[in-house]
Each structure stands twice: as C-alpha cells, then as structure tokens.
Amino acid sequence: MILQSGEDSVVEIGQPRDYADVVLVAPVTVPYVRHSVHSAHWFVARALSRLIEESGLDKADIDGLSLGSFTLAPDTAIGLTQHVGIGVRWLDYVPLGGACGIVALRRALRAVQAGDAEVVACIGADTNHVDSFRQSLGNFSVFARDAVLPYGSGGPNASFAFLTSYYMRTYGATREDFGKLCVAQRDNALSYPNALFKKKLTLDEYLNARPIADPLRLFDCVMPCAGAEGFLVMTRRRAAALGLPFARVRSTCERHNAFPEDQIQSRGGWVLDREHLYGAAGVEPGDIGFVQTYDDYPVMSVIQLEDLGFCGKGEGPEFIRRHSFSTGGTFPINTCGGQLSVGQAGCAAGFLGLVESIRQLTDRNLARPVPGARFGMAVGFGMITYDRGLCSGAAILSRADV
C-alpha cells in the first residue's frame, strides 16, 4: 500500500520516512539527589530552564512539550504548561519509565517533521521523597497490586531476581560476568560529575555486597533518586541557523508487549525490530561506537546486547568476558556510568542514555569522550507491570557530519 504524503514524497507503510531533516540539540541534566523536598514540577521547570540556557532560545520559542514523569500526580503534562508558564501547540505525556525517552523522541521527531511544532522540549523528570518509592510500587499497576506486591513486596528487585536467575541458569552467566559490567560502568561514572556514586567499585565489593533478592546484591540494583534530563527536537535548518551543535537520528524503534507467550522474559521487542533499526540507519552493529543500554539491572544490559545483534542469543556471557566496556576500552557501554552508577531518577532514567549520547556525538561531554565514535545507540526498556518489562525501544544516533 502506498500513502501520499505531501507532493514530493511517497512513503510506503512499514518503510517509515527517515529523520534527515530533524535533529537533537541541547542535552541537559538537572543534577540528581537521593531524596528531594522539591516536587517533580520543580525538576521539570529546572530542566526547561536549562534547555533555554543551553539553546539560547526564548521560552516562547518552545511550542511543543513531551513529558515523562511518574510523580506529577495529581497533575499530568497539561497542568505543567500552566505551572511553568509555556503555551504550546503540541503536547505529549509519556509516563513510560525506561522507554519514555525513546518514545518521546520518536513522537517529537515526527511532530517537527510534520510541522505540528517547531521546537519540542522533551523532558523526563521525577522527584523522590522519603518513602515515595514504596508508595509508588503500590500504585504502579493493577497487576502489581493484585499479584506481585502481596508476595514479599520485593519491588522490581524481586521481579528481576527471577529474570536474572533464569538467565544465569539457562545461558551460564555468572555473578562475575554481571559484576564486570557494573565495575566498568562505575569506572565510566568516575568522570561524570552528575553521578551519585563517586567511589570506585571493585569486583570484590560487588560480589560481597548485601544480598537484596537472590541472586541480586546491592550493586545490581539502581538507586531511586530525584532528577531530570532533557533535550530539544528541532529542524536541522533551525539548529544550523542558531549555530547549535546537533546529533542526527538515523533510526528508531519501539515495541510493546512483545512475546507474551514466553514463560519468562529473556528477550525483548528489539528482536523483532533490529533488522529495521540497522537497515534504516544503513549501519551494522560493528559501526556503533558506544551503546547506552537501559541498565536497570545488569541482566537487562546483556539481553539488550544480544537482542540488538552485538552477539547471539545466549552469547552474552562470552561477549562480556571478551570486552572491557569502559570508555577507553573495547565496546564502551553506559559512558556516563548508566543508572547503576548515576542513579535512577524515575522517568529521567529513560532519557539518561539519549542525553549522554547527544553529548558524546556533539562534543559537549561531561563524561570522558569515546574516541572516534561516529554512531551511538541508546536503548529504552521498561514498565514491568507484572512479570516482565513491556516496553522496548532503541535509537541509533550519529554525529552531525556523518
């Protein structure tokens, strides 16, 4: 089937239009804190303010807003327009946790391409009050309340303990394998000023940390915190006119509730989309200079590396043993430390990898740069409403001159 879209372009369904004319600028972070007395609204406002500073735009120039947050209640994105005093002609609310950055990005790119908005601010922000994490667990989903929480209330730790032990048993991964990823990411985090963890992590410390939910120990688990991340989506022409460094988007994908028949999660929707992802970008896995996995637990990083074709299914453990993963080494992942070392600021965690990728590809590094990286990948994953993460997504970005 052929769709007419405008006078000069013909797009076939299933062959989405490329993103050549839209770009990403102004990667910003509102520094994370373990607990905050501020509301999520404050973090959104701080992120917006940082976006304006970073881009040199006027507040009134921002005519689109995409917001990911879990802790705005009773507000949603609409209340925030009045709260922070912006008028927009395009508004999106994407409370999709670890997938909200990728999903916000995809929608904002299309909105700008279609002319529905000129400049879209994409923001992921959450606060973390004392005890708000526990309360949010009970409100996360009907299934979690009915069929997970009453069983020990271990939260996501218990759910990922299942996935981790299953993966270890099935594919022969060891605690040392996961530890290697965590240690390498901590090494990366030491150069990133916004990371909440500022001390080197040794493999011994990782292996002997306090048990949380077998086989997970303390350093397998992200630390809930407060913070925000954001970037702007605008046309390439506008970015060039403003003289703003930009990253390009080569391809993206998202998928929800893939493989419902799998008895337990050991893969995500990326398996169904990776061919398109690389095909549309015109690159191979070997061209990717760094990967920002969604590392809520190290097992998910390994599953993403497999499902996105960096190694075969079940070859994750061997892949880990072959690479060093630090920024200066082979196969850099989570170049700012990932959430495991930076902290998990709710929906901001879904933006962390994208924002860090934009920094890396526009030479605005806060963390150590990856030498010679032309392409980078950011991965999204999230929303474990019952026994598995439902959302998966990914984006391949590149430098402006590629």
Partner: protein
C-alpha cells in the same frame, strides 16, 4: 509519670485488590484454588481481569484448578519495601508456569526444590484476609505445616495456646482431643458448672496441656474474669458453647427457651468478643507469637431456618451476623475468624433426625483442618474427607 512502652501496631501484608481479583479470595476462604476461565474460549487467565485477554469476552467464571506447574525461577527476598515483610525476611517467592497456562508469582514453601522443579500451587488467605498463591512440593513431606511462611498464613494449632469455651459437651470434648492431637501447647477448657462432675471432663483433665476454667458465657463477670486471666495469651479461641432446644415459632411458651439460646449462642459470643476481642487484637501479627484465629461453631441453619429447630436457627443467624462484624474487626490484627456451619450433629438435640449426621469427632477434625488450611467458612460433611 513514665508512659508505658508503646505496644507494636499489628502489621499486615498489602491487602488492596482490584474487584476482579476478589474471586481468588472468595475461593481461598473456602479452601479452594480457583482462577478465571473464559466461558467463550476456555482460556485460563491470571492475574485476574474483567475480560478474557485472548478473545475479549466478559464471560469469566472462577473455576477450581489442579495447580500443578513448573517453578521457572525462585528467589529469596532479603530486602522488602513493606513493613510487614521487612519484619519477616528472608522470604521465599517463585515464578510458576501453571500447566493450565498462566504464569504466577507465588509464595514458595521451603521444601520446594530450586527451579526448575515441579510444584503444586494452592490458594490461602494471608494475614490481610486476601487470597494469595502458595507453591508446595508435589509430594507431601513430613512437618510441611511448620514452614514459617505457610504458618504465617494459616492458624495451625501446633505449638499454639487454645481456649475451648465449653468442654462440657461431646463436641467440646472432641475438639479438645483433636486440638491436643494437632500439637497444641496449651488448651484452656471452659466449664460453666465447676461444682458438677460432668462425664468426660476428668478424662480431659488427664492431659498435661489441659487446664479447666470456670468460664460461663451467660455471665459477663465470668467472661471478664477469665479474659483478664488468659486473654492476652490465647492464640486460638474456639467457641463451642451452644444451647439447643427443639422448638419452632408457632409453639406455646417458647420464649424462655429461645431466650436461653440467645443468651449463649448470640450474647455469649458478644460477651466473648467484648472481652477477648480487644486483647487478641492488640497483639502483634508476628506468626510465631501473635493471635491467630477465632472459631465460631455456627450451624447451616444460620443460613436458612430449619422450622422444627426454629428458635435455635434464629439464634445462630444472629451469631453469624455478629461473627461477620467480628471478622471485619479482627482482620486489622490479622486474626482470622472461622465460621463452622455443620448440619445436624449426632448429639442429644438431633436424636429425632435421620442420618446423615455429623459425629463430634468428625466436626472436631473439620475444625482442625480449617485452622491448618486457614480457611474462613467451613461446611463439614458427615464423611470425614480422608
């Protein structure tokens, strides 16, 4: 003046459920494991929903499940976000793929082998009074009931202190023997007429665990006195006291007899509830030291009046209503209120009725089983289910 140390507030596991999920609880209260089955396409589904996730039909029926399945993954939770479980970690849970189809997060009995292994899933009421799933080993193993997680959800008499309110009747004495057989640590037995030498009481007194107490449910002062003596120590209260006269409504001079029935069957329960309820409720819900259960001997005639035993039926109906109130009040402390609904019992009051009749021993056995399985409503049958 120095204030007394604050007594710990009883903790309960998370008890909020969606309406659709209450079917699991309703079945678990009767000792059954049921899941939603789609009337249109036959899909068995879990977690509960209001529609079939496969064909979107709204015709869902709760149906009993065999519960067999494979334990795919297991974990021991060392860190919980909930105060109730914080007090109880380490806590073992598992992910089971049921043979019927769905995958369920379950409490995992300590004797289940590590994943992958075969298990049998059943439903129990937890301390919040909501239905939860537990996986057991496929084959019975010795002392299975001693598992601390299971014990937290049941009211097994083993090593617990029990009050049987009336030991004068055949039923009361059968209950005492059954409770001792189940391993109760101590059994207080009420007998309202200490000066009388009633048959069977001496035999009960021979048990080292038994202590007779002059408890008279018709006397508020007596109930108060006994409650102040032992009320803070009772783990399980079994109210076996009843008065039963054979009369209907349209018979002359029945008021006095009916008043006597009400005075024990209804007001007796109210007196017990007023004195023992607050004491049992004030204790922590900790599975090892907290109060566990309150058992009321009602009657199927509480549900529907049996005319030849009309006033008796009415008094039991009143008691049922009161016990529903008590159940709601005791739930906040994790104390389970169990109602027993026997048909005719093989005692002096039902001599004129034909078989089947429930023997006191079978009734006592049903009470012990109810405590062990942690069910809320029991309809014991004449043939013991073994």
């Amino acid at each position: 003046m120095i204030p007394p140390p604050a007594s710990p507030k009883p903790l309960l596991p998370p008890g909020a459920r969606s309406r659709a999920a209450l079917g699991l609880t309703a079945a678990a209260a009767l000792g059954r494991f049921e899941l939603q089955v789609c009337g249109a396409c036959g899909t068995v589904q879990y977690p509960p929903r209001e529609i079939c996730h496969r064909c979107l039909s709204g015709e869902l029926r709760w149906r009993e499940q065999p519960g067999t399945g494979e334990l795919i993954a297991d974990t021991v939770i060392h860190h919980s976000n909930d105060p109730y479980f914080r007090q109880r970690v380490p806590w073992r849970v598992g992910l089971v793929r049921l043979d019927a189809g769905p995958t369920a997060v379950v409490h995992l009995h300590g004797h289940c082998a590590a994943a992958p292994s075969r298990v049998r899933v059943g439903a129990r009421l937890d301390k919040s009074g909501q239905g939860v799933l537990l996986a057991f080993p496929i084959d019975e193993v010795p002392n299975m009931a001693d598992d601390p997680q299971l014990r937290d959800m049941t009211c097994d008499p083993k090593s617990r202190k029990v009050l049987v309110t009336d030991g004068r009747t055949e039923v009361g004495q059968a209950v005492v023997r059954a409770i001792i057989g189940a391993g109760a640590e101590q059994v207080w037995v009420g007998h309202a007429e200490p000066c009388k030498d009633l048959p069977g009481l001496a035999a009960l007194e021979a048990f080292a665990q038994v202590k007779l107490l002059p408890l008279d449910l018709a006397d508020s002062q007596s109930v108060k006195a006994i409650a102040s003596e032992i009320g803070g120590k009772v783990d399980i209260l079994i109210n076996t006291a009843e008065v039963h006269r054979v009369q209907g409504a349209a018979s002359p001079g029945g008021v006095e007899a009916a008043r006597a029935e009400m005075d024990i069957n209804y007001f007796g329960l109210l007196r017990l509830a007023g004195e023992f309820g607050p004491l049992m409720r004030s204790r922590d819900t900790d599975g090892q030291s907290g109060s566990a259960a309150w058992v009321n001997l009602l009657s199927v005639y509480a549900l529907s009046n049996f005319p030849s035993h009309g006033t008796f039926s009415a008094s039991k109906a009143a008691a049922l209503s009161l016990s529903q109130c008590l159940r709601a009040e005791m739930r906040s402390a994790g104390v389970r209120v169990i109602n027993i609904f026997p048909g005719p019992i093989d005692d002096e009051w039902s001599q004129m009725l034909p078989a089947p009749k429930l023997t006191p021993a079978a009734l006592a056995k049903a009470i012990v089983a109810a405590l062990r399985d942690g069910v809320e409503d029991v309809y014991p049958c004449d043939v013991a289910p073994d």
